[in-house]
């Protein structure tokens, strides 16, 4: 909202505002306004001094005109500037006749745009100054010709003396939605008056000396229209507004149109009250009905668009058809035009929610709807605005008011508010002096009845619909007393401070992130929404995807997987450099559940309507143009991340293969018997879909954060007192048989070959994999040694493929460690157990892979 300093000063006794502002602060106009208004919650976003350059512009009188000898479009003008006649060359086609008045920039003037006027020759003819357009003077938008001034003005007069307020300071205010009253100069002036202790003196208005004509307006929807003031004006003459009016509107960013329209806009800016003027001769029976529209009733608004209305839209109709979309926009049929003579002027109060719904429904956002949906004055201010418009209309467009009426609807009640003064300090932590409270409420025109020193009964004025309860009044007191007077003081004992805690999932995610960082990965933050074609590769079917109704960047689906975001980032990097890309992200993925889970608790009913959000830690590794990354680095990163939360993870065969990963290069991540994630090479189809170079190897892993147990505390194991003995094993196996399966088979065999009762067996049937925990054996018994984590000491040393191994096979070199409690193991006993374990394991493995054999 633009506010003019000059306009504000018209709301006070002449000169009073400038004096009071200077007395309040000596820091200069711009700084004073910024501090004063921002301190009141009317944030000053910008301050602009305007019109200074116009000071040197004078009225010029045309004394002679002759065509330029060298140029068809130029005219040589003899111009009287009040002291003498100068010769000026002008290119405008709208030069007035001899005796006409124009805006003249003499030699030495500097135009607002910075152009310095000097004597010069235009194609051989001397020109001493410039005849200006209003655009060149930045006092209007019209750049189609020069500014023609009224003939009555005297040559040599300065424009600034003729047009009050042409030199001004414009304040750009950010008005919050609770302050519709501040969407006009009068409302801002009221705050200023209260703050500076200055009496408010807005221009006086008076009721027209015309009869009441109740038939003029009927309100058929009193719930939607609280009040409708209608005025009949006859004998108007529609023409351009005088310069002061055009400048005034231009300064606030409005375009001057005609005196009638300009007056309604002027009052909008002064009082914050939208008005509408109908061409009364175009209204059937010359009267209006405020009613709901018929379903699908057609209407053409004054911007020329045709709308089909709904039964919830409020219209101002004449005896037969809608003539305005109430509070939003006028209709084309009855709009004011050059030949309009008789007007019906409307000043009304419409229910905010209805205006907002209609504006949204039909895609309008007008100055009018903006104010009505925030709530305009339905009391004194409404009539004041109407009368101010009436006054200006009669002044600028002639004619007279022949009838008027004030039609009542249902006005919102003004709430009675009990203001308990002790409550002010209880809420703010600072006392507001009673005298200040009294002055502030009076300044804001709140009616106060001081029932007791502690409790005041207040009724808010109709121009402040935001003042509805006690806290609203307390805020007003604070606003004017000064929010900067709130001290910094803890007012509650520290008692409640003890139990600060974190969120377990956030905590786990943070630790995983640290693990991935330690594995050399950089954290990325991707958008939570992606384009539909980027989620098609992943297992969530279309009906379970969570879609955004009004997406940006064509990203209409909440991500169902972390990989698209990481691949986007990878593609971004690959397009710009050749370096390795190692990224991770901890974020959420979204999907509608197959069935909603009904839980208990105060938010359960709402939660049951929401999609699932799962926290995922995802990692991506790409070796750069030179390659050189091994697939196992991705499992390494994942295992490292899990170690950070105290979990010992290992890759196992995936229970079901992931479609977005290479079928031959993927694993599930297991912790104990639970699968907590996956890892593998990104499927070549995805590499192609993301337009990455053919053959690019990219590795991906993810961990489901919520699947992890809360942090595990490691328990110490006693150190072995006697050395273990190792036996190596080279096993020829099909390439498709995983090392995890081989190790599992050896573990299982070890369990079978030694005493069962010493082993806690945790079978993970889902993956066909058993994990053994090696318990201390009976004294003297030889057994598979346990590593530091109590797991079988079976190392996988090498995966050999090449000479000497049949096609489709590989040789896996393993090392098994044997030990006994309380003594050393002899070579012979170790060998005997080893032979038995290998035989049993091979036999088990051959069920699925008959070609397994020791080498």
């Amino acid at each position: 909202m633009k506010i003019s300093h000059h306009w504000l000063s018209e709301m006070f006794v002449e000169g009073a505002l400038d004096a009071a502002l200077a007395a309040w602060s000596a820091e200069g106009k711009a700084a004073a306004w910024t501090r004063l208004l921002t301190g009141l919650g009317l944030e000053v976003e910008a301050v602009q001094a305007v019109g200074e350059a116009v000071r040197s512009i004078v009225v010029g009188e045309i004394r002679g005109k002759s065509p330029h000898p060298q140029a068809d479009k130029l005219t040589v003008v003899e111009l009287f500037d009040g002291t003498g006649v100068v010769q000026v060359v002008c290119g405008a086609s709208n030069l007035p006749a001899i005796g006409g008045k124009v805006a003249f920039a003499p030699v030495g003037a500097v135009l607002p745009g910075g152009l310095a006027i000097a004597a010069r020759e235009l194609r051989g003819v001397a020109s001493h100054g410039m005849i200006c357009s209003e655009a060149e003077l930045e006092i209007g938008a019209d750049d189609g010709g020069i500014l023609v001034l009224p003939e009555s003005w005297r040559a040599g007069e300065r424009l600034v003396d003729r047009v009050p307020g042409i030199v001004d300071t414009i304040l750009e205010l950010g008005i919050t939605p609770n302050r519709p009253d501040a969407l006009g100069h009068l409302g801002v002036a009221r705050d200023v008056a209260t703050k500076l202790g200055l009496p408010l003196r807005p221009p006086a208005v008076r009721r027209p000396d015309a009869p009441d004509a109740p038939g003029l307006v009927s309100i058929a929807a009193p719930d939607r229209c609280g009040r409708y003031l209608g005025y009949v004006l006859e004998g108007m003459s529609v023409q351009p507004s005088p310069l002061w009016m055009r400048v005034r509107l231009h300064r606030l960013g409005l375009r001057a149109i005609s005196n009638v329209v300009d007056v309604t806009n002027f009052v909008l800016m002064e009082c914050g009250q939208p008005l509408h003027a109908f061409d009364r001769d175009r209204l059937a029976e010359g009267r209006v009905v405020v009613r709901r529209a018929e379903r699908d009733e057609p209407m053409t608004t004054l911007d020329g668009t045709q709308k089909l209305l709904t039964a919830e839209d409020l219209v101002i109709a004449d005896a037969s058809a809608p003539q305005a979309l109430a509070g939003v926009m006028g209709g084309a049929h009855s709009m004011v035009h050059a030949g309009t003579h008789n007007l019906l002027l409307e000043a009304a109060w419409f229910a905010p929610a209805g205006i907002r719904a209609t504006a949204r429904r039909h895609g309008y956002a007008t100055d009018s709807s903006y104010r009505f949906e925030r709530g305009v004055d339905h009391g004194v201010g409404l009539e004041r605005a109407a009368l101010r418009a009436l006054e200006l209309l009669l002044e600028l467009a002639g004619g007279r008011c022949t009838a008027w009426t004030d039609a009542p609807g249902e006005r919102p009640p003004a709430p009675t508010i009990a203001l308990r003064l002790p409550r002010v300090a209880a809420l703010l932590g600072v006392e507001v002096p009673v005298s200040t409270a009294r002055a502030v409420l009076a300044g804001l025109e709140v009616q106060v009845r001081e029932d007791s020193p502690e409790v005041w009964t207040c009724v808010a004025p109709t121009h402040r619909p935001d003042l509805r309860r006690e806290v609203d009044l307390i805020e007003e007191l604070m606003r004017f007393y000064g929010l900067d007077k709130v001290p910094a003081r803890l007012t509650v004992p520290q008692a409640a401070r003890a139990a600060a805690h974190s969120d377990p999932v956030t905590e786990l995610g943070d630790r995983l992130a640290e693990g991935l960082r330690d594995a050399g990965l950089h954290e990325h933050v991707a958008m939570a929404f992606v384009a539909e074609n980027k989620v098609e590769f992943f297992a969530v079917p279309p009906e379970r995807r969570v879609r955004v109704e009004n997406p940006m960047r064509a990203a209409g689906v909440m991500r169902t997987h972390m990989l698209p975001g990481l691949l986007d980032a990878l593609a971004h990097n690959v397009a710009r450099h050749t370096r390795p890309v190692r990224l991770f992200e901890v974020g959420r993925i979204y999907a509608w559940p197959e069935r909603h889970v009904l839980k208990d608790g105060p938010t359960a009913a709402i939660d049951a309507l929401l999609p699932l959000e799962r926290a995922i830690a995802a990692a991506l590794i790409y070796g750069g143009a030179k390659g050189g990354v091994q697939a196992r680095e991705i499992t390494g990163a994942a295992v490292q991340a899990l170690a950070r939360v105290g979990l010992r993870a290992r890759p196992v065969d995936p229970p079901t293969p992931a479609a977005h990963l290479h079928p031959g290069v993927q694993a599930a991540l297991a912790v104990g018997d639970a699968i907590v994630g996956e890892a593998g090479e990104v499927h070549p189809d995805l590499i192609r879909a993301w337009d990455l170079p053919e053959g690019t190897r990219v590795y991906y892993a993810e961990i489901a954060v919520e699947a992890l147990p809360a942090r595990v505390t490691a328990k110490a194991r006693d150190l072995p007192r006697f050395p273990s003995t190792a036996r190596d094993l080279s096993l020829e196996i099909p390439v498709t048989l995983s090392a995890a399966r081989v190790v599992a088979a050896l573990t299982r065999a070890a369990i079978t070959c030694t005493a069962q009762e010493h082993v806690e067996l945790q079978a993970a049937q889902s993956v066909g994999f058993a994990e053994g925990k090696i318990a201390p054996g009976a004294a003297g018994e030889v057994r598979l040694a346990a590593d530091s984590f109590g797991e079988p000491a079976i190392e996988v040393l090498e995966d050999y493929r090449g000479a000497g191994v049949p096609a489709g096979h590989r040789a896996l070199l393993l090392r098994l460690h044997y030990a006994a409690e309380q003594r050393s193991v002899t070579d012979d006993e170790a060998q005997a157990l080893h032979t038995a374990i290998v035989a049993a394991a091979c036999e088990a493995l051959r069920v699925d892979a008959p070609t397994v054999r020791p080498r």
């Binding site: 301190g39 944030e43 809420l427 604070m478 969120d503 330690d518 950089h522 940006m552 710009r576």
Partner: protein, 359 residues
């Protein structure tokens, strides 16, 4: 000296001069003074000598042995010294690029989020979380932003397309739940619904921060449709705006390492009353004025105020008994100014050349 002793001594001395390692020195020692060493054997011959010659020979033999031992020891010292000197002459240039495991980084947003969260936990705030896809009741209605109120325009909202509710896991089909209307679910426009969830779920005293991802349809050089917020809420008996100011100052001391001024400016947020914007003394210049604070000495941080009684009422807390304050601010802009990030887009592109700058 008997000739044979002299010969052996000379032979030893000749061999000793050629010895260049401690191992060879040991071999030489064994060859002359070992059990079967050449000099040792000569002592055995002493018995064959006439008794009057024995004494003289014995003395000579002892002298020769002592001489050999001394020379062996001297040579050993010399060799050790040589070896040490050689070892010390080695040069390995440790100013060559250090070999370190590949360095990973946490995103600057994460770093700021963690620091904020740690700061507020030290000030006694627990971390609270909520869903990103939120119901408009928690995102708007219960926060005193009714349907068809212009305050809804303060945040350009992403709406979630209505979804045919599949029914519940117990087989029931809650009628109300099945009728999800357009506009009912949104991407949370702020972290404030976490306030509502917390107040619905626990009794005062409540002292929480919610930190997380938020969404608004805004996309330009300074706005990302996805961004991050932190929000604090404190509800108890006797909580005041003065307490809020003091707490925010305590926060600046913890977060910036020095207590900075906190300044309130009246503003409007539907869920607080009185509402304010808060600025803090510029942490970069200490309030003297610099480019980052546009010479004002203050940095605009976010919004705050006293919890609106309508919010308390929606959450079942009696505003006559309890008061509370809330504050909220954006994490992204704070992160960018902390790390002098020139463009917002860098934050979400995942360019490793950018990310690796934040060790």
């Amino acid at each position: 000296m008997p000739a044979r002793l002299a010969t052996q001594l000379a032979a030893f001395q000749e061999a000793l001069a050629r010895v260049d390692s401690e191992a060879a020195l040991y071999e030489l020692q064994v060859a002359y003074l070992g059990k079967k060493g050449a000099v040792t054997q000569l002592r055995g011959e002493m018995g064959k000598l006439p008794p009057e010659a024995r004494k003289g020979f014995g003395a000579e033999w002892n002298r020769v042995r002592d001489a050999i031992e001394a020379e062996l020891e001297a040579r050993r010292t010399y060799l050790k010294d040589q070896a040490r000197r050689l070892d010390l002459a080695r040069v390995d240039d440790l100013t060559l690029p250090p070999l370190r495991p590949p360095a990973g980084t946490l995103h600057p947003l994460s770093q700021t989020r963690r620091r904020l969260s740690e700061s507020f936990q030290r000030l006694g705030f627990s971390l609270a979380v909520g869903p990103h896809v939120e119901h408009s009741k928690y995102n708007f209605d219960d926060l005193n932003v009714p349907q068809d109120h212009p305050a809804r325009d303060m945040a350009d909202t992403f709406f979630i397309r209505p979804h045919r509710h599949p029914g519940f896991d117990d087989g029931s089909d809650n009628d109300a739940a099945m009728r999800l209307r357009a506009g009912e679910l949104v991407l949370r426009t702020h972290t404030s619904p976490v306030q509502v969830r917390t107040m619905l779920s626990q009794k005062p005293p409540i002292r929480i921060v919610a930190l997380g991802t938020t969404f608004r349809c805004d996309d330009d050089a300074t706005h990302s449709p996805m961004f991050h917020q932190i929000e604090g809420l404190y509800v108890d008996r006797g909580v005041t705006m003065a307490d809020l100011k003091a707490t925010l100052m305590d926060f600046t001391r913890d977060f910036y390492g020095r207590r900075l001024d906190v300044r309130f400016r009246p503003s409007f947020f539907p869920f607080v009353e009185p509402g304010a914007e808060f600025d803090i003394g510029c942490p970069f210049c200490g309030g003297d004025g610099c480019n980052l604070c546009k010479r004002t000495g203050y940095i605009e941080i976010g919004g705050c105020g006293m919890v609106h009684p309508a919010v308390f009422e929606a959450c079942g807390i009696d505003p006559e008994v309890y008061t509370g304050w809330a504050f909220g601010f954006g994490v992204d802009r704070m992160t960018m100014s902390q790390h002098a990030v020139p463009h917002l887009r860098h934050m979400f592109e995942g360019d490793v050349r950018f990310l690796e700058q934040f060790p």
